[in-house]
C-alpha cells in the first residue's frame, strides 16, 4: 500500500538514502557534502513579496522600487550564504554516554568547535524526530557544549540515534541542516523491577552448599583499608569520619552467604520481567553485601562482590 503515499514514500526513501551515505563517526566536520539547505516557508513568502515588489516597480515605473527590490534580493542571497557558512566548517564531537537502565534517559554531551574568527549564532541540535531543539551559539574560535538526551527504545548495546543540527540564522529564510550518525554506542540495562521481592533465600545449588545460617553476629569485625569494589555498607563510616581514611569491615561473616541468581529463581515466565527482577536483585544483593553470582544465557559469573562485579552482571543482563 505504500505506493498510495508516493510523497511520504519518497521522503522516507530520501531520508534512508541520506542516512546510509552518512558514515558512523563520533567526530564530524561539516562541509559542502554534508550540509543541506532549503528555503523555509518564510523564505518562500519573501520570494513572493519580492515578486510583488518587482511587479509594482514595473507597473508604476518606480526606479527606487527596483532598487529596494534588488537590494532586498541581494540581502536574501547573502543571507543564504551566511546561513550555509554558519554550519560549514563546524566540528562536532561526541562523548559516549554512560550505560543506563531501560526506561531512563541516556544523556550525552556534544562539543561544538568553531575554528573560525567569527561567532556562529543560532545553532540548534536535536535527536532526530523528537522536535526538542537545544539552542546554542559558538563564539569565535571557541567551543560550546550541548547536552542531549534520549530514551533508548530497547535493552542491550545500541547506536545512539541520528542527530540533527540546524540553523535558521540570519533571516529565517533558509533552513540549513546536517545529520549526524554517531558511532558511539550505549549499553542499556534492563529496568530494575520496582518493589521487587526480597532476595531468594535459596539460591541455586551453590547457595545451598554454603550454609546460609552461619550468622555469628556480635563477633568483632576485622578491619582493613578500603579497597576498590568494597560495598558502601562495609565501610565503617564512624571511623572514616574521625580519621579521614576509608576503612572497610572484613566480611568474615557476611561473606558466608552466597547466591547464584538465575532466571528460574524469579518464578516469572516472560524474559524481560525475569531480567528486570534479576537486575533488581543484583542491585539489592550488592547493597546488602551478599556475594552473588549470575548464570544467564551463555554467561556464567562466579559469585563475588563489588561495583565491578555488579557492572559485569548488569552487562550480562543487558546483553542477555
Amino acid at each position: 500500500m505504500r505506493w498510495l503515499h508516493p510523497l511520504r514514500f519518497l521522503k522516507n526513501r530520501f531520508a534512508k538514502w541520506l542516512q546510509n551515505r552518512m558514515p558512523l563517526a563520533d567526530r564530524i566536520t561539516l562541509n559542502q557534502r554534508n550540509v543541506y539547505i532549503i528555503p523555509t516557508r518564510a523564505g518562500l513568502m519573501l520570494a513572493v513579496t519580492l515578486m510583488v515588489l518587482l511587479l509594482a516597480s514595473i507597473n508604476y515605473q518606480l526606479n527606487l522600487g527596483y532598487l529596494l527590490t534588488f537590494l532586498l534580493a541581494g540581502c536574501a542571497l547573502v543571507a543564504m550564504h551566511v546561513a550555509h557558512a554558519t554550519l560549514r566548517g563546524l566540528t562536532m564531537h561526541l562523548e559516549a554516554p554512560d550505560a543506563c537502565y531501560m526506561g531512563a534517559t541516556a544523556q550525552f554531551v556534544i562539543h561544538l568547535q568553531n575554528t573560525r574568527k567569527s561567532p556562529r549564532f543560532g545553532l540548534s541540535m536535536s535527536v532526530q524526530d523528537t522536535g526538542h531543539w537545544v539552542d546554542t551559539d559558538v563564539g569565535a574560535q571557541a567551543s560550546a557544549t550541548v547536552q542531549l538526551a534520549f530514551k533508548p527504545p530497547r535493552r542491550g548495546l545500541q547506536h545512539l540515534p541520528t542527530l540533527t543540527l540546524q540553523t535558521l540564522f540570519p533571516l529565517g529564510t533558509f533552513r540549513v541542516w546536517a545529520i549526524w550518525r554517531p558511532a558511539a554506542q550505549v549499553l542499556v540495562y534492563p529496568a530494575p523491577e520496582q518493589h521487587a521481592p526480597p532476595l531468594p533465600t535459596h539460591g541455586s545449588e551453590e547457595g545451598h552448599q554454603a550454609s546460609p545460617a552461619v550468622h555469628t553476629l556480635g563477633e568483632p569485625d576485622g578491619l582493613r583499608p578500603y579497597r576498590r569494589g568494597d560495598g558502601l555498607k562495609t565501610i565503617v563510616w564512624k571511623k572514616a569520619a574521625k580519621t579521614g581514611e576509608l576503612v572497610s569491615r572484613e566480611h568474615t561473616n557476611l561473606q558466608t552467604r552466597t547466591l547464584v541468581l538465575e532466571p528460574q529463581l524469579t518464578q516469572l515466565s516472560q524474559t524481560e520481567a525475569q531480567l528486570s527482577r534479576l537486575c533488581a536483585w543484583v542491585l539489592l544483593a550488592e547493597k546488602q553485601g551478599v556475594r552473588y553470582g549470575l548464570r544467564i544465557g551463555g554467561h556464567n559469573l562466579a559469585p563475588a562482590n563489588g561495583l565491578t562485579h555488579q557492572q559485569r552482571c548488569l552487562q550480562a543482563l543487558a546483553l542477555a
Binding site: Q32, Y60, L62, L68, L71, R88, F121, D135, G172
Partner: protein, 668 residues
C-alpha cells in the same frame, strides 16, 4: 530611562525596537493617510509599547477584530472604496499597526516584515527623492536587524551585533543590487496605471483662473532641471513655454483644443535666426503633455520613445502626459519670427472677448486705439501706463470679482503676473490687437557646483504675446513693466517662511543657507540623473558603450545570465577549493599513507593512524626507513581524538602545520 531600557527582558526590548522601526517606516506616510489613520496607528503603537514596557499580556482577539472592523469602516468612509492606491496604503498602515498587537510568534514577526516592505514601496508613489531613499535604507537596515535578532535565540544578544550583521549583509547585497538595477530590463507597465497613481503634484495646467500661479509661487518644489551644452542664455531669455491660453470666458483662460496632427503637420510658420542654444531638460512628472522648451524651438525635442509635435501656437506636446521623470534634448533660438504671414482667420480667436465683461477696460481700449493708431505704439503706451500708474506686483492681491481686468486697471492696481498678463491681453484684444496669454516658467537658478539650472514651481510665470503686422507674434511681459526685477535679475517675492524653517535657519546667514541649498540641489540632481532617470534608453546606451551594435533587452538578459553563470562557476570553484583545504588533518594522513605506498605496502582503505602504526610495527624495512613515524602517527592520532581543550581550538591548524613539517623532515 536608558538603564530601564537595557534592563528590560529580551522580549520587551525586541518588541520596542521593532515598534520603533515600524514607526520609522510608517511616519512619512502621515501626509498621505487620513488623520484618523495616523491617530489610530500612533495610539496602537503606544499601547503595544507600554504593554511591552510593563510586560503585560496582549489584548484579546475581540479587541483586534473590533479595531480592524473600525479601521475598515473608517477607510470606506474616507475613500468610498477599499481598493486603489490611497485606500490600500491606509489599510496596510492599519494592518501593520494592528498586527503588532499579536506580535508573539516568529511568523507574526514575518508578516510585519512583509507588510513593512510594501509600505516602503508605497512611499515611492509619493516621493522618490534622495531623502526618501535614505530614510528607507535606514528602515531596511532596521528591519533586517530585527529579523537577524529574532534568529539569535540564545540569551540576550546586544542589538548592535544584529545590526552589524544586517549592515554587512546590506553592504554585500549592494553589488548584486547594482548589477540587477543596471541590467534588469525595464519593461513597460504591465497594466494601466490606476487613475490615482500620480495625484497630488502641482504644476501648470491647461486652464488658468486668476490665482493659480500665485499658489504655485509658494511651491518650492522642482519643476525641471536643465543644462546648456555650449552657450549659456541671458536670464531675460529664459522663457520656458508651457500652455498657451487663448480662450477667455470672463473667468477662466483655457488653451485651444488642437486639431489632429495629420491635418496640421506644422501649423506655425517659424523663422529662426542667430546662435542656437542646446540644452537638456529633466522634467519632473506633471501629468501634462506639454514639453517645456525655450522660445522658440523649431525642431522636435528629442524624447526617447516618442515624437512630440508642435501645435499652432508654438507649443510642443506629447501624445501622453508626463507621468515619470522625463529627459529630453532641445535646440532653441531666442531670435525668431513666428506666423508673420498668418491669415486673418487664424488670428481671429486671439481677438475674441466675452460680451458684457470689463466695460471700463473696453472703453479705455477704444480711447487708446484712437490716440495710438499704430499697434506697436499702442502696446508701448499700455506698458508705459503700467510702469507709471502705481501698479504693484504682489503675491496677495486679494480676491478679484467678476470684472477682473477693470478691477486691476482702475481699482486695486495690485496683482501677480497672471493678473497683469490677463488684464494686458484683454486691453490688447479690446483695442484690436491679437493677443494671448502664455504660461510657463521664467528664469531659474544656476547651481555653480555642477552648472545645472533648477527651475522651480515658484518660477511659474504668465506673460503675453501680441501679433504685430510684419513681426508676427511678439512676446510682451507686462509684469516686467510693473516689477522689472522679476524678469531681469530673477528676483522672487519672498515666500513667507514657516515657523520651523525660521527656527532652523533663523541664525544662519542667508548666503550660507543658499550655498547649502545649492549643494543639496546638486546632490539631488545627481540622484535624479543617475537613479531616477535610469531608463530603458540609458540601459541600451550602456550596452552600446559595451560594444553591442544594436542592443535590445535580450542582450540585457544575456549579460545578466552570463554574470549569473560566471558567479556560480566562481562560487563552485571556491567551494571545491575550500573542500580541498577543508581538513588539514586528513591531508596529513594522506601524506603519511604515501610513505607506506613507497614501501610497496597494501593499505586498507581509509586506514586510521592506529592501523598505520600496526603496519609499521610489522615491517622492519619501514621501521628502518622512518624510525620516527610511530611517534608521529601517535601525535597525529592524539591531535584528533584526544579531548580538545577549548583554548586549543585556534591552534589545531598550527599543530597540523607543525606535524606536516616534521613529516617532511622525516622523508629526507
Amino acid at each position: 530611562m536608558w538603564r530601564a531600557l537595557t534592563r528590560l527582558p529580551r522580549d520587551g526590548r525586541d518588541t520596542l525596537f521593532l515598534l520603533a522601526v515600524i514607526t520609522w517606516v510608517a511616519l512619512p506616510l502621515i501626509q498621505q493617510v487620513p488623520l484618523w489613520c495616523s491617530l489610530m496607528g500612533a495610539a496602537v503603537i503606544l499601547w503595544r509599547g507600554s504593554l511591552a514596557w510593563r510586560a503585560l499580556p496582549l489584548p484579546g482577539t475581540a479587541w483586534r477584530l473590533g479595531l480592524l472592523a473600525l479601521a475598515v469602516a473608517a477607510t470606506w468612509m474616507s475613500y468610498r472604496t477599499l481598493l486603489g492606491r490611497d485606500a490600500g496604503v491606509t489599510l496596510v498602515v492599519v494592518l501593520l499597526t494592528l498586527k503588532t498587537l499579536e506580535l508573539r510568534a516568529r511568523r507574526d514577526a514575518f508578516v510585519v516584515f512583509f507588510l513593512s516592505f510594501f509600505l516602503m514601496l508605497t512611499q515611492f508613489f509619493y516621493s522618490q527623492s534622495l531623502l526618501t531613499a535614505t530614510a528607507m535604507l535606514l528602515a531596511l537596515w532596521g528591519l533586517l536587524t530585527a529579523l537577524v535578532n529574532a534568529h539569535m535565540p540564545v540569551g540576550k544578544p546586544p542589538l548592535w551585533q544584529a545590526a552589524r550583521m544586517a549592515g554587512q549583509m546590506t553592504l554585500l547585497g549592494a553589488p548584486i543590487m547594482l548589477v540587477l538595477f543596471m541590467l534588469f530590463p525595464r519593461l513597460a507597465p504591465l497594466w494601466g496605471l490606476p487613475g490615482d497613481a500620480m495625484t497630488g503634484r502641482s504644476g501648470l495646467s491647461a486652464s488658468m483662473s486668476v490665482g493659480n500661479i500665485a499658489s504655485l509661487a509658494l511651491d518650492d518644489s522642482v519643476a525641471m532641471r536643465l543644462r546648456f551644452t555650449g552657450q549659456q542664455p541671458e536670464p531675460t531669455q529664459m522663457y520656458f513655454r508651457g500652455p498657451v491660453l487663448t480662450q477667455f470666458d470672463g473667468k477662466r483662460w483655457t488653451a485651444m483644443p488642437w486639431p489632429d496632427a495629420d491635418l496640421h503637420p506644422m501649423p506655425t510658420q517659424l523663422v529662426v535666426q542667430g546662435e542656437p542654444l542646446n540644452y537638456q531638460i529633466t522634467l519632473e512628472p506633471n501629468q501634462q503633455p506639454w514639453l517645456l522648451t525655450l522660445d522658440a524651438t523649431p525642431q522636435p525635442p528629442k524624447v526617447p520613445g516618442s515624437t512630440p509635435r508642435m501645435t499652432h501656437d508654438l507649443q510642443w506636446v506629447l501624445t501622453r502626459p508626463v507621468t515619470e521623470l522625463l529627459r529630453y534634448e532641445a535646440t532653441s533660438y531666442t531670435r525668431y519670427l513666428a506666423d508673420v504671414d498668418a491669415p486673418r482667420t487664424q488670428l481671429r480667436p486671439n481677438l475674441r472677448l466675452p460680451l458684457g465683461f470689463n466695460p471700463r477696460t473696453q472703453a479705455w481700449a477704444q480711447e487708446l486705439q484712437q490716440s495710438h493708431p499704430d499697434p506697436a505704439a499702442r502696446v508701448q503706451a499700455v506698458l508705459q501706463h503700467l510702469r507709471t500708474g502705481d501698479y504693484l506686483y504682489t503675491l496677495e492681491p486679494g480676491l478679484y470679482g467678476r470684472d477682473s481686468a477693470d478691477e486691476f486697471w482702475f481699482d486695486r492696481k495690485l496683482g501677480f503676473c497672471e493678473h497683469i498678463a490677463a488684464a494686458f491681453v484683454i486691453v490688447m484684444r479690446a483695442s484690436g490687437i491679437p493677443a494671448r496669454v502664455v504660461t510657463g516658467y521664467q528664469g531659474g537658478e544656476r547651481n555653480t557646483l555642477d552648472n545645472f539650472w533648477t527651475v522651480r514651481q515658484s518660477d511659474a510665470h504668465a506673460w503675453a504675446e501680441v501679433w504685430l503686422a510684419g513681426r508676427g507674434w511678439v512676446r510682451v511681459d507686462p509684469t516686467a513693466a510693473v516689477a522689472p526685477g522679476r524678469t531681469g535679475s530673477l528676483q522672487r517675492l519672498q515666500t513667507p517662511r514657516g515657523a520651523l524653517t525660521s527656527a532652523l535657519l533663523g541664525s544662519v546667514s542667508p548666503a550660507f543657507a543658499l550655498n547649502m541649498r545649492a549643494a543639496w540641489d546638486a546632490v539631488n540632481n545627481r540622484w535624479n540623473q543617475w537613479v531616477l532617470n535610469y531608463t530603458q534608453q540609458r540601459q541600451l546606451d550602456l550596452l552600446k558603450n559595451l560594444g553591442f551594435e544594436s542592443p535590445g533587452w535580450e542582450d540585457l538578459l544575456y549579460i545578466l545570465w552570463s554574470i549569473v553563470v560566471v558567479a556560480s562557476l566562481a562560487s563552485a570553484a571556491w567551494s571545491a577549493w575550500e573542500r580541498q583545504r577543508q581538513d588539514p588533518w586528513l591531508r596529513l594522513l594522506v601524506r603519511a599513507r604515501k610513505a607506506f605506498a613507497h614501501a610497496k605496502l597494501q593499505l586498507p582503505p581509509q586506514s586510521t593512524p592506529r592501523q598505520l602504526i600496526e603496519l609499521w610495527r610489522q615491517h622492519p624495512s619501514l621501521q628502518a626507513r622512518y624510525p620516527q613515524l610511530r611517534t608521529w602517527l601517535l601525535q597525529l592520532e592524539a591531535l584528533r581524538y584526544s579531548q580538545p581543550k577549548p583554548q586549543q581550538a585556534a591552534s589545531f591548524k598550527q599543530q597540523c602545520h607543525a606535524l606536516g613539517r616534521q613529516l617532511k623532515r622525516m622523508g629526507r
